[in-house]
Amino acid sequence: MNDDLLIFLQAWTGGAEVPEPERGRLLTRFREDDAFRQECLAEMSMMGMIHAAQTPAPPWPALQKTLQALASAPADVPADKPRWTGWTSLRRLTATAAGVALLIGGGLWWQTSQRVIATVVNDAGSEELANGRSIRKETHRLNTGVVELMTSRGARITIEAPAEFRFESAQRLRMTQGRLSAEVPPSAKGFTVITPSGEAVDLGTHFGVDVPATGAAEIHVFQGEVIARASGDKKALNLQGGSAAKMEGGMSVERELRSSAFIQAGEMNGLSAGLSSGQRARSEAATGALLKDPALIAILDFKSGEAQPGIYRTVQGRWPGSRAAEFVNVGDHLKLDVGGDREWPQLTLAAWVRLDRLGAPYQSLLHTDGWHKGNPGQVHWMVTQLMTMRLALYANTLPPGSEEVNGYPDSRTSVLPEQGRWAHFATVYDAEKKTVRFYLNGRFDKESLQAVAHPARLGKAQVGNWDRQDRKLSGRVDELLLLGRAMTDEEIRVLFAAGNPYR
């Protein structure tokens, strides 16, 4: 290949930098040298053909919609006659096509900037982007809720608030904040998400991108393959399904996968139906009732906007625009100091939790800091490596012959199916009855007996990661409740039913 052809193709495809004077010289040669022009044209035509041969044709959604709209237009002539003939047919066809196209695309074929790139196909609590809304090249700020978009090439994108994004084309989405998951069919292979710290290029896959308000963007590949390229980094990182990377400081560094941190298309219907059925109002009423409960020790619902001390992210909770604490990195935690020096013969612990990862030795829900000899009744509440709940009180013992095989009261039902969705965890402790009762999503799961049962003691505590390396938490916590009395089975059921974001 001669040098000019090589440089011409680099300039034409945009695959390499070509200085402006060089471009000008090539264009002059392209205009004046017929042999060179034909040589260039042969390469351009082959590349065009390769595109047509290698990628399946898209489903042409705007065209389909236009034709469907016409097919459903009411007939104004008798059925036994041709509906349109001659000039009438042309006029009708033209008028309808133009009308429909204006409706669906805002002058689709006249203004590239007005081209519909994606459509909102589902939304849960989004104030800014309602279902059916057309998305063009403008910037969108999503303050509440979750939206699911379908691009013109068939990629399904779910974006969770708070988010800011703009489509540069159907295949390029620029995101400055937010969290998205993308299901990319072959027709949209090459779909790219550009973040402030790098980009993710899909190679036919299902992946997530997290762009926090501050800090590095992350790419999580659930299935298939994605190329991660940090800004300014010449090296690209190939991420296979089950892997993830953080793009920071001009480098892509592998990290643990958090596939469940992303709301995906399958979860949208449940959230959307929950909102439509008025669950949010029921939840607020239930929380309001708890605030009046004389036995209330603490309820942490993040509503006040006053930040609790600790290291964690504030993200969207169960409801559009609500807040929850998210624990991402080892060491992330939230500090509490509740319950004072009092003894609590009865204690109910309940929380809405969205677990991203299981498998670490312990997922810490609440750990008091005073867990040491001479301080009986200190409370440690967690999910174990066996994926069951545990409530341990310092110096409590199990009765002889107890069925508990790990030395502490554990629940029976695995929480694994609840990973990646909001789940309600509750445990009721009664020192007088010497019982620990576990509940998952409002259902009674198991009662465990204690031989020695000290009254519970709280005080300084941490939600999320505790001081030890094996007490981590990967996920979100919303509405943590500590109540100085034993809630009944029915109260727990009602608490779950009122606060459940799904329908």
Partner: protein, 187 residues
């Protein structure tokens, strides 16, 4: 008779008489050619397909203006050429160096509207797919990835070579594909 068995004139006649759904058969027959043609002028695969869709919508809207004795493929390419120029003009203010270069190349090719189009007939594309599958692995990888945006740099990294060398590989692949297509057409 199935839509696929109708000749083009009969199809167009029925579409104009109100059977708008039959237009998808027309799209099916010409989409490969038109996608190839548009992508040979606008080397951004997503944008090229969006623009191809607009050409089909415009063609459907203007179907009554099509002269029956003319070449329908050439008519579509004429609409595409017009749309490409409009596209590049509308991008002018925000276009980067690549888009400006593509726009100028497209403008200079205005007189050569049909150049290369015969290569993009559907049968030939099927043969091209076969020919691509016969390429040596390294060349096939380059062809599959394409040269859009960051791809040359990514390929250079993966193949442990330089960006110009990636272009050389693509050029070599194109030569082999042309040879292969010639043989396939002779056989």
């Amino acid at each position: 008779m199935e839509p696929k068995d109708l000749d083009l004139a009969a199809l167009l006649e029925r579409i104009l008489r109100g059977e708008s759904g039959l237009y998808l058969e027309v799209v099916r027959r010409y989409e490969v050619m038109l996608r190839g043609y548009v992508a040979s002028r606008l080397y951004d695969r997503a944008e090229a397909d969006d623009l191809t869709q607009e050409v089909f919508i415009t063609a459907w809207r203007d179907l009554g203006k099509f002269r029956r004795e003319s070449d329908f493929g050439a008519w579509l390419r004429g609409i595409a050429r017009h749309r490409l120029l409009t596209y590049f003009r509308s991008q002018q203010r925000r276009a980067g160096a690549t888009e400006r270069f593509q726009a100028e190349v497209c403008r200079l090719l205005e007189a050569e509207i049909d150049a290369g189009h015969r290569q993009a007939e559907a049968g030939r594309i099927e043969k091209l797919t076969l020919c691509i599958s016969r390429l040596p692995e390294k060349l096939r990888r380059v062809v599959n990835a394409g040269l859009n945006g960051a791809q040359p740099a990514i390929l250079a990294e993966q193949l442990r070579t330089t960006i110009p060398a990636v272009y050389q590989l693509h050029y070599r692949a194109n030569q082999l594909l042309r040879d292969c297509l010639t043989k396939e057409n002779l056989s």
